[in-house]
């Protein structure tokens, strides 16, 4: 599915590096698709994406698209932030368990008081210098 895109009126405080391998992830994210790697041998789905299967060490792996749906496992609102993030504080980060049985950590956007176990959806955070992903309560992406 295509993720909704949320405009973020600033540059990323700590941009991720990009390799020839991870470029695929970030370029697909920019176009609204959340992809990761799956092992063609044992079926293990990894996140973050890896050029090998962390479970059985098989290479190569294949890219698959995730549904973008999950449930909120944990969250916190960060008030004491690293200097790079000072202008954004307070901000909320979270752990989301995806429908495909993959756990991810990300920024929580929208209502920071969303209850644990709530249905969540991933969104693309379109910063001025490139994308990140985020999560919000399902159906609330603007």
């Amino acid at each position: 599915m295509t993720l909704r895109i949320v405009a973020m009126p600033r540059r990323r405080a700590y941009p991720p590096r990009m390799s020839a391998f991870t470029r695929t992830f970030w370029e697909e994210l920019a176009s609204g698709r959340f992809i990761t790697t799956q092992c063609p041998e044992c079926g293990d789905i990894a996140f973050p994406p890896k050029p090998h299967c962390p479970a059985c060490w098989h290479r190569p792996v294949q890219w698959i698209e995730l549904s973008g749906h999950g449930r909120l496992y944990a969250r916190t609102t960060v008030h004491a932030a690293p200097g790079r993030f000072a202008e954004e504080a307070p901000y909320t980060v979270c752990i989301v368990d995806m429908a495909e049985n993959v756990r991810i950590a990300t920024r929580l956007v929208g209502d920071p008081s969303v209850a644990l176990d709530s249905a969540m959806e991933l969104v693309v955070l379109r910063y001025e210098d490139g994308p990140l992903f985020g999560a919000c309560a399902a159906g609330t992406a603007g």
């Binding site: 700590y14 969250r75 609102t77 960060v78 008030h79 200097g83 980060v93 049985n101 993959v102 990140l132």
Partner: protein, 395 residues
């Protein structure tokens, strides 16, 4: 070869690091040399007995590089074992201890020092976190969102409260209890008792945790003198015997890729099972626990993982006084990371210092009466790895 702690010394945790612009600076090697000499005097041995020194890798702010070999010259200590520095995030001090113990186990040396210094408080927290966030997260897939080291523990708190119907005040009682313990410890950074109301009134740091529920920033220096038990017996004074050890790394960095019960601290459960089995003891045999717990919630979770309290009951047990001095199983009699202080790369050394004091019955007003068996833990990440030691008094 069995391992003994025969000497220990440390400076009080606190703000010691000077700034570049200060006329007179406080230099790490001068401080640590004094602590090492104190510890060796405490052991009552001659420096020529020492065959190895294992240090923590110093903070990036320490100007003197190759710090361990520089210290060998400061102490003019020739060694046939190793002189080395080790690192492993918050577990570093525990690995220092383990590497020193390995020198003795191998038969290469009879006495080894486990020591180090961690100075960082003159660096503002906001600057320090620009670096530390890169240690407790994937630089490309976590750090861009602004996860800080303690944000992971705060997420543990959110989940634990949700799953167990526990309120913030019950978690916060851990901070009150540890401050009470610290009030009796001359090595503690914060010794003025606080009330639950005081703790709850502090500004939020990482919700639901406020200022007194997260670790202070601390400098420190500590030294343990380790030997074989056979050597310790020749000294004709009380010592501490290492009775069991356990380690487990769950193969995850901060979070598991597969959804699991994050608050179960599975690495601590595995390491504890190994440690108890090797010691031939159970949690019920322990007289005290000095655990690595940077936040209130972490003490609750590790006390459950070790089996000191029942799962889901860690906060209730603290509220009921079971984990206080005088209670069923006193936890963090030093005041713990929250009040004793948290100079991260050597925090576990301070845990060993407290165990050495308690099990030699020298802890003064915070002495656990008749203490004979104690446990320490240290960890890295969000307890993704745990190193656990069980110690026994040898009066």
């Amino acid at each position: 070869m069995e391992i003994a702690i025969i000497g220990a010394a440390a400076i009080p945790c606190g703000r010691h690091q000077s700034r570049d612009e200060d006329d007179l600076e406080i230099l790490e090697h001068e401080v640590l040399a004094g602590v090492a000499i104190d510890a060796v005097e405490d052991a009552g041995i001659d420096k020529t007995a020492i065959g190895a020194m294992v240090f923590n890798y110093p903070r990036a702010y320490t100007k003197q590089l190759y710090f361990g070999t520089f210290m060998a010259a400061q102490l003019r200590l020739a060694c046939d074992g190793v002189v080395m520095e080790v690192v492993g995030n918050g577990m570093t001090g525990g690995l220092v201890f383990e590497q020193a113990a390995q020198q003795i186990r191998s038969g290469r040396v009879e006495v080894a020092l486990a020591l180090g210094v961690n100075f960082e408080t003159a660096v503002p927290a906001t600057t320090h976190m620009n670096r530390s966030m890169r240690a407790t997260g994937d630089v490309d897939f976590h750090s861009p969102f602004g996860f800080t080291p303690i944000s992971w523990y705060a997420m543990d708190a959110s989940r634990y409260m949700h799953d167990n119907g526990v309120g913030r005040a019950e978690l916060a009682q851990v901070a009150v209890k540890n401050r009470q313990h610290a009030s009796l410890n001359p090595l503690a950074q914060f010794r003025k008792p606080v009330t639950l109301e005081d703790v709850l009134a502090q500004r939020p740091i990482v919700e639901p945790l406020g200022l007194y529920e997260v670790p202070p920033r601390s400098d420190g220096a500590a030294c343990l003198v380790l030997s074989s038990v056979d050597f310790a017996r020749t000294l004709d004074r009380p010592f501490v015997r290492l009775r069991g050890t356990g380690f487990h790394h769950e193969g995850a960095h901060q979070i598991s890729e597969r959804p699991n019960a994050m608050t179960a601290f599975n690495a601590a459960r595995r390491a504890a099972a190994t440690a108890f089995a090797s010691a031939g003891t159970t949690a019920a045999d322990l007289d005290l626990a000095e655990v690595y717990a940077p936040c209130t919630i972490v003490e609750v979770l590790v006390s459950e993982a070790l089996g000191l309290v029942a799962d889901g009951q860690g906060a209730h047990a603290c509220m009921a006084g079971e984990t206080s001095l005088g209670g069923r199983i006193p936890i963090c009699t030093s005041g713990g990371l929250l009040s004793r202080g948290h100079p991260p790369f050597i925090t576990p050394l301070y845990s060993f210092v407290e165990i050495a004091e308690q099990l030699r019955h020298r802890a003064g007003r915070r002495q656990v009466a008749g203490a004979s068996l104690g446990i320490t833990t240290c960890e890295l990440g969000n307890y993704n790895a745990a190193l656990i030691h069980i110690f026994e008094a040898m009066p």
